[in-house]
């Protein structure tokens, strides 16, 4: 440890400290005499104060000496300089980049880790030489334009001061590389990057190469100094990393199971951590979670919603040092009760021969269905009012008279759903004539591809539109229940416009088509929904397909889309209404930037919680929920040696606090100046005493 001066010649001013001593010595000459009558009083006063006077004189001498010693020394700007033995960085001025980690994990400890990082960044900035250009990179997961190094210290300081730890996931590897690229703008040959971070492993890509700076001499490796804002301490964290809301048939149609996974990113097992389920702000269920060290636990909480509708809720863990991932919100779409009118075109006293038997069974089964199906014979359909129903299923019904057809058309245009299943009661010409445009595609002629009663032969479904809400659930292994359906006879459909083909037979003929008419939807299955022409009714896919289809026709299926997005990721969210939302509000009510795309919106959420959409009439409705990235919840830290190797080995250094190799020094002048000021005031005070 040694002391150096920025302005050594000014240190000679410390010789001024000799002045008080000289003055003291000069003043030792005998003062002029003064004959005085009240000498006895003077003697008494002197005796009374002699000790105090001596002490005061001594203190005064010291204060004056200190004042004249410290102030010139302070002006010379001395500093303690430590040996730079532990440094991996070289001496001399360098182009500097300060990377400030502002990712979610930096909020650990109530923001204390981020504040440490900010202090480290400020200190690094303050320690720079005047000839060192600096740029500051705030690594918070947002795309930023990185400025080249400059000498505008005020701007760099403002950037550091205004930075806030966000909720997003940050890629520190990318940020360091971007900082390295920015350093290429500086002509100084030495490049140095300071990274103030918590060393969370999730922020680094361990397979990435060390950062490089492209210079005229080729690519060089910058010196990298990582400043550990966690000061070497572990950062245990418990987080909800996954949450699903699923139907719970055991609780009825409006029962829901909220299944969530809690992960423990600490080295110690966590026991009896409280997890609470809130619907709105009401606590509806509570449980305790035990999570092994480094492991995960999954819990399932049940809740029966009183009515259909859109509910927002959350599962909350008792908060820890990083509370942002201790809560996961959700939007639960509980379908409203549907009323469906089933027109049976071929009733039979034998239930399994009845045209509507399988449809009724599919819609009512399990006790968990919110669908109330009422079946009438096709002959009685004319006397049935349609308005109380959400959807009308015409199963192998003969072409009705025009009046009924007109009523049905009005019903559809007014928002009702209509489903056609064909069969032997259907006459193609009569249908085309009576229903006209109500049919998605006009009927042509029936086609037979297999023998009745035979288990073999028949057409299989071939192509599917899995983007459609009805068929989306059959992607993956569930497709088997659909792809094995055999259809022996079906109507060929005439080509037309405005219809969407959801599935075809293996000969390419449309099997399931859809068309929107007015506010309503119409679907047509080219075969029967009993076992007369097809065995779909006895396949596992029939029940979910019928329910999906009914809900879709009644426009309740759209409401079930409860998107859950990860903060910081650009996502496309479907929006079924014709008019896009006028605004999307984040959990704090601020408008979120979004782009309207076909059939949805494109956005990047930056705050966790429920986001709402404002529709045309100004009302808002829950739209989606956003949650923090589980990767950022993983606060397990990298070993220093790992990080050092990642950043370039000997060219890298990991420290708990800023200890710049070149400038391992502590400024002393401010302390001296403070002491000088103190002695100045003390001297004045002593003088007045």
């Amino acid at each position: 440890m040694s002391v150096s001066f920025a302005h050594p010649w000014l240190a000679w001013g410390a010789l001024l400290a000799l002045l008080p001593i000289l003055i003291h010595l000069l003043q030792r000459r005998r003062p002029r005499p003064h004959p005085f009558a009240a000498l006895e009083l003077v003697l008494r006063s002197q005796r009374e104060n002699v000790r105090r006077i001596r002490l005061k004189r001594l203190l005064l001498l010291l204060a004056r000496t200190a004042l004249l010693l410290f102030v010139p020394l302070a002006i010379a700007r001395p500093q303690f300089a430590a040996p730079a033995a532990a440094s991996a960085t070289a001496e001399g001025p360098a182009a500097i980049a300060i990377v400030l980690d502002a990712s979610l994990s930096m909020r650990w400890g109530g923001g204390s880790v981020f504040e440490n990082a900010r202090k480290d960044a400020r200190r690094v900035l303050a320690d720079r030489l005047a000839e060192e250009p600096v740029t500051v990179v705030v690594c918070d997961g947002r795309p930023r334009e990185i400025e080249p190094p400059s000498f505008d210290r005020g701007r760099a300081r403002r950037t550091i001061d205004e930075a806030e730890a966000g909720y997003l996931e940050a890629d520190l590897t990318a940020c360091v590389q971007a900082a390295a690229q920015a350093l290429a703008e500086s002509p100084l040959p030495a490049k140095r990057i300071f990274v103030a971070t918590d060393l969370a492993a999730s922020g680094w890509r361990l397979d990435a190469p060390p950062p490089t700076v492209r210079t005229e001499e080729g690519e060089v490796q910058p010196e990298v100094v990582v400043l550990d804002a966690a000061r070497g301490e572990a950062m245990p964290n418990l987080a909800i990393t996954e949450l699903r809301v699923e139907p719970a048939p055991e609780l009825g149609a409006r029962g829901r199971a909220i299944t969530f996974t809690v992960q423990n990113f600490g080295d110690e097992e966590v026991r009896d951590r409280v997890a609470e389920l809130f619907v709105g702000e009401e606590l509806v269920a509570k449980t305790f979670v035990d999570v092994p060290a480094g492991g995960a636990a999954t819990k399932r909480l049940l809740h029966r919603f009183p009515t259909g509708g859109i509910y927002v809720g959350a599962v909350r863990l008792s908060p820890d040092a990083l509370p942002e991932d201790d809560e996961r919100t959700f939007v639960a779409h509980v379908p409203r009760d549907l009323r469906v009118l089933v027109a049976n075109g071929a009733p039979s006293p034998v239930r399994y021969r009845d045209e509507a038997f399988f449809v009724e069974t599919a819609l009512r089964s399990g006790g968990a269905s919110p669908i109330e199906a009422r079946t009438v014979d096709a002959d009685h359909l004319a006397r049935q009012p349609l308005d109380p129903f959400d959807a009308l299923l015409l199963l192998n019904v003969r072409a009705p008279d025009r009046a009924l057809a007109e009523r049905i058309a009005d019903f559809v245009r007014g928002g009702g759903g209509l489903f056609f299943a064909l069969g032997d009661q259907v006459d193609a010409d009569a249908y085309n004539e009576v229903f006209g445009d109500l049919l998605p595609l006009a009927l042509h002629v029936p086609k037979t591809v297999g023998k009745e009663g035979s288990e073999e032969g028949g057409a299989l479904f071939s192509t599917f539109d899995f983007d459609h809400p009805i068929l989306g659930i059959f992607s993956g292994p569930a497709l088997e229940g659909l792809s094995t359906v055999r259809t022996r006879r079906y109507f060929l459909l005439r080509p037309g416009e405005g219809a969407r083909v959801l599935a075809t037979f293996d000969d390419g003929a449309p099997a399931l088509v859809e068309k929107e008419i007015g506010s309503g939807r119409v679907m047509l299955f080219a075969s029967t929904v009993d076992r007369d022409w097809s065995d779909w009714a006895i396949q596992p896919s029939f029940l979910p397909a019928m329910r999906q289809m009914t809900s879709y026709l009644a426009r309740t299926l759209d409401e079930r889309r409860a998107a859950s997005v990860v903060l910081g990721e650009r996502v496309d969210l479907a929006w079924s209404d014709e008019a896009p939302p006028t605004a999307i509000l984040d959990p704090e009510g601020r408008e979120l930037e979004h782009a309207v795309a076909e059939g949805g919106v494109q956005l990047v959420a930056e705050r966790p919680g429920i986001h709402r959409a404002r529709v045309g009439d100004g009302a808002t409705q829950p739209f989606f929920t956003a949650h923090v990235s589980p990767r950022e919840s993983d606060t397990r830290r990298l070993e220093r040696s790992e990080l050092q190797a990642l950043l370039g080995g000997a060219k890298a250094q990991v420290a708990e606090a800023p200890t710049d190799g070149r400038r391992k020094s502590a400024p002393l002048w401010s302390l001296l100046l403070a002491v000088g000021l103190l002695t100045f005031f003390a001297e004045g005070l002593l003088q007045r005493k």
Binding site: Q27, R30, P31, P33, P35, F36, A37, A38, E40, S45
Partner: protein, 297 residues
């Protein structure tokens, strides 16, 4: 002494008081020095033309016969008051502050002369005691007008010397005062022996009317010295170097203690105490003193 005794301005001021307010000055002095044998005899003083209200029995009929005018005889009381002026002329009384002005002794001698003049004018017997340590000079009291120059002659020759010894001076005066008298002590009271000031009040126990003029220089009272100073005692106490600013507060406390002690002892013994600053107008001091005596009579 360079400064003339009985400064004309002072005498003129005092005289103005006598002329303008005879009732106040003469009556006051008369009242203040009211003799215990009042009314034994009166002496004719002068004539005055009669005016309504004058007593008819005092009309001088002989003068009427000669001058054909009514004149009224006026009489003056004959007094037997004996007054002693005790002047401390020790070396400490020779102090004069750096500002030009009177030394304490000069101020005290002028004050004593003024008192003597006033007393002699009302035909009181005035005695003088000059205290200079071991040496005591004594002029016995006389009442006639020709005694005043003798008093002045002694006062003019006084030089400060010796130490302050109040006890010795008091013993001397007590010995000389055979019957009730008015005693005026003029001193800086810088006698720090125990009970030194208290000895003065002993004279009051002998039925005397005692007044103390505590003569002090403003530099002694306020101690306004700034630079380091070597103070040299006037009565052989030695010397000391001090920074006056360092001890000023303490010195002022000691001075206040000294004055307060003298004032308290005087009050306790029914002795009139007056602080006589050498920069204060003397006429006001005298008038204040006489007024105080009138109130206490």
């Amino acid at each position: 002494m360079a400064v003339p005794l009985l400064d004309p301005k002072l005498l003129a001021t005092l005289g103005t008081i006598q002329l303008r307010a005879r009732a106040v000055v003469e009556g006051l002095l008369s009242g203040l020095h009211r003799s215990p044998h009042q009314g034994q005899s009166v002496e004719f003083a002068e004539h005055k033309e009669y005016a309504p209200g004058d007593e008819l029995r005092h009309i001088d009929w002989k003068a009427y016969g000669k001058l054909d005018r009514y004149y009224v005889k006026q009489f003056e009381h004959e007094t037997n008051l004996r007054a002693f002026l005790v002047l401390d002329a020790s070396a400490s009384m020779g102090y004069r502050g750096p500002d030009e002005g009177l030394s304490k002794l000069e101020y005290a001698t002028v004050l004593a002369a003024a008192l003597a003049y006033l007393l002699v004018r009302q035909q009181d017997a005035v005695g003088l005691v000059i205290a200079q340590g071991e040496d005591l000079h004594y002029l016995p009291p006389r009442a006639h007008v020709g005694h005043f120059p003798a008093v002045l002659s002694i006062l003019e020759k006084v030089e400060p010397r010796g130490t302050t010894d109040l006890g010795r001076a008091v013993d001397f005066v007590a010995e000389k005062v055979r019957r009730r008298a008015a005693i005026f002590v003029l001193s800086d009271l810088f006698d720090f022996r125990p009970q030194a000031v208290a000895r003065i009040t002993d004279l009051r126990r002998m039925k005397n009317d005692v007044s103390i003029f505590h003569v002090l220089d403003p530099w002694e009272l306020e101690f306004p010295f700034e630079d380091a100073t070597r103070f040299v005692g006037l009565e052989g106490e030695g010397e000391i170097e001090v920074d006056p600013r360092e001890i000023r507060a303490s010195y002022l406390r000691e001075m206040e203690k000294l004055r307060e002690n003298a004032r308290a002892l005087s009050l306790q013994a029914d002795v009139t105490y007056e602080l006589a600053r050498t920069d204060a107008p003397m006429d006001r001091l005298l008038l204040r003193h006489l007024s105080q005596r009138e109130r206490s009579a």
